[in-house]
């Protein structure tokens, strides 16, 4: 045996509380959402309440008759009502002095499409709730239909590849940027390859929600829908970060900063080659996607720079 570190990896310390979910639950083999849910429950602690909704999470977050797959209190909701229900809960618990962390747990379909209005409303009102959107870039539980989070050129069952169309013709909503414009107390992007970064953001979310609205956008690829080998899920997350396809950043009160710097970003093809949802794209299609990735990152970078400048100016003026 090679020399061991013998000490347990310190990242476990972030996730050291008791496992809330049953050992065997119905998420697909290799699904990053399973990791997201288990870790979120571990960091948020005993006083967490889920508000879940139809999507990939619901079959596990919500029970079946009197049985449930985990020991967390939850309230099920249709997609149009998630953050509003969370608002009702958090306002009342606050009022009666009951310690509670209310977490909305929805997919990108709910967050960017059918449930966007109440999400935007709750964010604007600074409701003390955490909204976690797991982004698998489509309606995956119903079989991979496009959502407004589906990227440019991606093949889905409703934006298929055929003689007349080559995947989704429009760019996705830049949801993290949209939420940044709401200036939540705290928001962050996170993914499952960078666990310590994710853990820190979950911890921060748990603290910051006492002061205002928190939005977490978790990049969670779908091995089944994107046609990735189940063993590559984490590598896909990692490459998404390394190509700037999904930069990791956070923002307090609307002032963003990048949390995982990528000094030499790789071409987006390093990401797209791992899955078959982009395999129909030729050079021009891939070039368009690269342009979109570059544009988004430059936008993010300029906002981060502006925030840094403002911070410096404030510090100097003191």
């Amino acid at each position: 045996m090679v020399e061991t570190t013998k000490k347990r990896n310190r990242i476990f310390n972030y996730f050291s509380t008791e496992e809330k979910f049953a050992g065997g639950v119905a998420w697909c083999a290799g699904c990053p959402l399973e990791l997201t849910a288990r870790f979120t429950a571990k960091v948020m602690g005993d006083k967490m309440i889920f508000v879940g909704t139809p999507g990939c999470a619901a079959p596990v977050l919500h029970g079946q008759n009197i049985g449930a797959w985990h020991k967390v209190a939850y309230l099920a909701s249709v997609m149009t009502g998630v953050p509003s229900k969370a608002t009702g809960l958090s306002r009342y618990f606050n009022r009666i002095g009951l310690d509670a962390t209310v977490v909305c747990f929805t997919g990108d379909g709910c967050a960017t499409d059918v449930g966007f209005q109440p999400l935007s409303g709750a964010a604007e009102r600074r409701e003390k709730i955490i909204y976690l959107a797991y982004d698998n870039e489509g309606y995956m539980n119903t079989g991979n239909q496009r959502s407004s989070a589906t990227p440019l050129g991606a093949a889905t069952t409703t934006t298929p590849v055929g003689k007349l169309s080559r995947g989704k013709p429009t760019v996705s909503k830049n949801m993290p940027m949209v939420m940044l414009m709401h200036r939540p107390r705290y928001m962050a992007t996170a993914t499952l390859s960078h666990l310590e970064d994710f853990a820190k953001k979950l911890q921060k979310a748990k603290e910051m929600v006492k002061e205002g609205f928190v939005y977490l956008h978790v990049f969670s690829p779908c091995p089944v829908g994107w046609r990735i080998d189940s063993s590559l899920s984490i590598e896909v997350c990692r490459n998404a970060v390394r190509t700037n396809y999904f930069p990791l950043w956070e923002a307090e009160d609307g002032k963003p900063r990048i949390t995982v710097e990528v000094p030499a970003p790789r071409p987006v093809t390093e990401f797209t080659k791992l899955m078959r949802k982009f395999s129909h794209l030729k050079e021009d299609g891939l070039a368009n996607l690269q342009k979109e990735v570059d544009y988004r990152f430059s936008l993010l970078k300029s906002l981060c720079d502006a925030a840094k400048e403002e911070k410096k100016a404030k510090a100097e003026s003191k």
């Binding site: 045996m1 090679v2 020399e3 061991t4 570190t5 013998k6 347990r8 990896n9 990242i11 476990f12 996730f15 496992e19 049953a22 050992g23 065997g24 639950v25 119905a26 998420w27 083999a29 290799g30 699904c31 990053p32 399973e34 990791l35 288990r38 919500h62 029970g63 079946q64 008759n65 009197i66 049985g67 449930a68 797959w69 985990h70 020991k71 499952l192 666990l195 091995p223 080998d229 189940s230 063993s231 590559l232 899920s233 984490i234 590598e235």
Partner: protein, 98 residues
């Protein structure tokens, strides 16, 4: 009406109670291959256990082993191991273990 149904819920509406019934699937029965560890290569870095979606890696003090009751055989642990200490082996090779 003669009611023969025996109530499933103790409540008026549909509430689940995990303290009464905690559901669990035999996800171990899903897999077609399982991770096998070469302990000589393992340095207990823990990445396999951290990245395992069902969080079913058991801590053995100086290495980790998959809990075969729940391991779905996704292969993430083997792919992510920096030392190549884990290999995915088809279930058929363990048929006589039952």
């Amino acid at each position: 009406m003669v009611i023969k149904h025996k109530n499933i819920f103790t409540t008026e509406s549909a509430w689940s109670d995990a303290d009464k019934v905690l559901l669990c699937l035999d996800t171990g029965g899903w897999r077609t291959e399982r991770p096998v560890l070469d302990q000589s290569k393992c340095n207990y870095c823990g990445l396999c256990a951290l990245y395992c979606p069902p969080q079913c890696m058991l801590d053995k003090g100086d290495h980790y082993e998959a809990n075969l009751a729940y391991c779905k055989g996704c292969g993430i642990c083997a792919h992510e191991c920096p030392r190549g200490a884990l290999t995915m082996v088809p279930e058929g090779e363990f048929a006589d273990e039952g």
